[in-house]
Assembly symmetry: C2
Homo-oligomer: 245 residues x 2
DNA sequence: AGTCGCTTGTGAAGGCGCGCACAAAGTTGC
DNA sequence: GCAACTTTGTGCGCGCCTTCACAAGCGACT
């Protein structure tokens, strides 16, 4: 299992051993920002520049990048094109990731119609629903098929990622279908905890929770403000702004 | 400032001093699940039950709940109704949180048309866009207004939370307008790091990043699978399934 | 060629969150 | 009323993540 750390030779295969989950999420952010820098014609970026642009601590950024190897040039910075290439390789974007979306309702329509996924290496290749009014229509040129076609279609099109945008009660059933069809990674928008075998990775996007976390902070600020109507705080805690995520 | 920990008396005001960010997010999940338990007629829930239903470690759950006070009954569990009440108070749901949504495109339509927000105490009371084809229409009975009306409308309707679903380039401008209008909490769907004053809280929902994190795991599994085509692993790492979030 | 300035990569420390394990406390049965 | 059982609340150790600070490395300028 644990091979000796045979660190970053430039080999074609992925030599990465283990990258902290939190870093992986940030690497994706760096990658997108690097794309913008490249469009603006930048050849190199320093960690400070990229850190400022992504709202991250520069040291953290360098450590994140160090997980994928030493591709920076001391005294200069990072060569944009090379770093993009390495990030794409690390994040698995050199292989096309075919995405299936189940539940073409309110949210599903928006996701299906969004061009940003395909443009970034995640072509949505299959859409599923149970509603007879939806099955048969096309969105962005993709046919909506019945849920019962999931096993067949997912295998045929090599789907690697499933997105679930059904109501909560239907999510587990849909999830089981996807897992049986060989999908090992699932992005879940339904407010449900999915039961999956250990080898399946689930990420959950829960907008209601996001709002409630914000509401909590509104309440806190409110209380704080009410308590210190007098004391004017000269306390710009965080100059840079974005803290987490 | 730091008063002695004058823990949870049953007073009407919020006596909470500081709750870890991660716990707050989970509290919201517990609250939703408790709602379902209540509908099923449950009077009390044990930490083990609720933990299983939300995919959380029971000890962690109890610790989370302990931040808001001691409302459990040893040997019995938690009284559902009382706990719901305390959670709502802690999360700031006893005050109505008026939400404004800017950018009524693909995603904005889905968000505006979603009943789940209003139903959970987050009525969307204002919609904004710049597209003349959108300004003037109604969605779910809410009028879409021009972005330039943000200052006026947000103040009039007491908006406390803003959601930004515009393209990335427009996000910062919209954000500035919201902040000037007194909005202190923002949920950002655009792939942009927003610059805000220290007292404003920003949360970012970045679907492209979610997909890329999944893609990374696909790649990892792929590599792992390719490396051990021989060794059949009898290693059900995580019986319970859901790991994080 | 040498020196100076700039930027990377990383060791180490600190903080935070997670989860075990157990004492405290309440309930049920007799 | 007492004992056995159930479940909460939490002290504590552990590991991950963040952040500081600095040595090592590279280029530019003279
Ligand atoms: N729309 C939003 O902005 C929003 C926000 C937060 C959360 N969500 C969550 O996202 C999910 C979808 O929301 P929505 O607004 O699109 O709901 P919706 O009711 O508009 O759409 C749900 C779709 O799922 C389909 N469906 C139902 N059962 C199915 C099944 N067994 N298999 C396949 N498809 C099935 C329905 O036909 C419908 O088209 C919900 O779980 C909701 O809680 C949505
Ligand atoms: N649709 C999705 O599924 C999805 C997924 C991931 C991320 N996103 C992000 O969400 C955002 C919105 O996506 P979308 O698909 O709805 O895009 P969209 O182009 O369909 O909608 C954007 C809307 O914003 C409006 N707009 C433009 N400039 C504005 C301004 N200055 N002020 C107010 N409104 C303005 C446009 O008129 C349009 O209605 C984008 O940043 C996108 O990257 C969307």
């Amino acid at each position: 299992m644990t091979k000796p750390p045979h660190a970053g030779s430039e080999g074609a295969s992925a030599p990465l051993r283990s990258i902290p989950e939190a870093s992986v999420a940030r690497l994706a952010v760096y990658l997108r920002k690097l794309g913008e820098f490249a469009e603006e014609g930048a050849d190199t970026v320093s960690s400070d520049e990229l850190a400022a642009a992504t709202g991250v601590n520069p040291a953290k950024l360098r450590k994140d990048l160090s997980y994928i190897g030493s591709y920076g040039i001391r005294g200069v910075g990072y060569e944009v094109a090379a770093l993009v290439h390495q990030l794409e390789r690390t994040l698995g974007l050199n292989h096309r990731q075919s995405v299936a979306l189940v539940g073409i309702g309110n949210l599903g329509h928006a996701l299906a119609g969004y061009g940003g996924f395909g443009g970034r290496g995640f072509p949505v290749t299959a859409l599923f629903d149970v509603d007879p009014d939806l099955v048969g229509i096309h969105i962005n040129g993709i046919l909506v098929e019945h849920v019962r076609a999931i096993p067949q279609v997912c295998v045929d099109r090599g789907v690697t990622i499933g997105m679930i945008a059904t109501p909560g009660q239907a999510a587990q059933g849909v999830c089981d279908l996807l897992v049986d069809a060989g999908v090992r990674c699932i992005l879940n928008f339904a407010p449900t905890v999915l039961q999956v075998p250990g080898e399946v990775e689930v990420r959950k996007v829960d907008l209601a929770v996001e709002l409630q976390v914000l509401a909590f902070h509104v309440a806190r600020k409110h209380v704080a403000a009410a308590e210190q109507t007098v004391a004017v705080n000269g306390h710009p805690v965080n100059g840079a702004g974005g803290l987490l995520s």
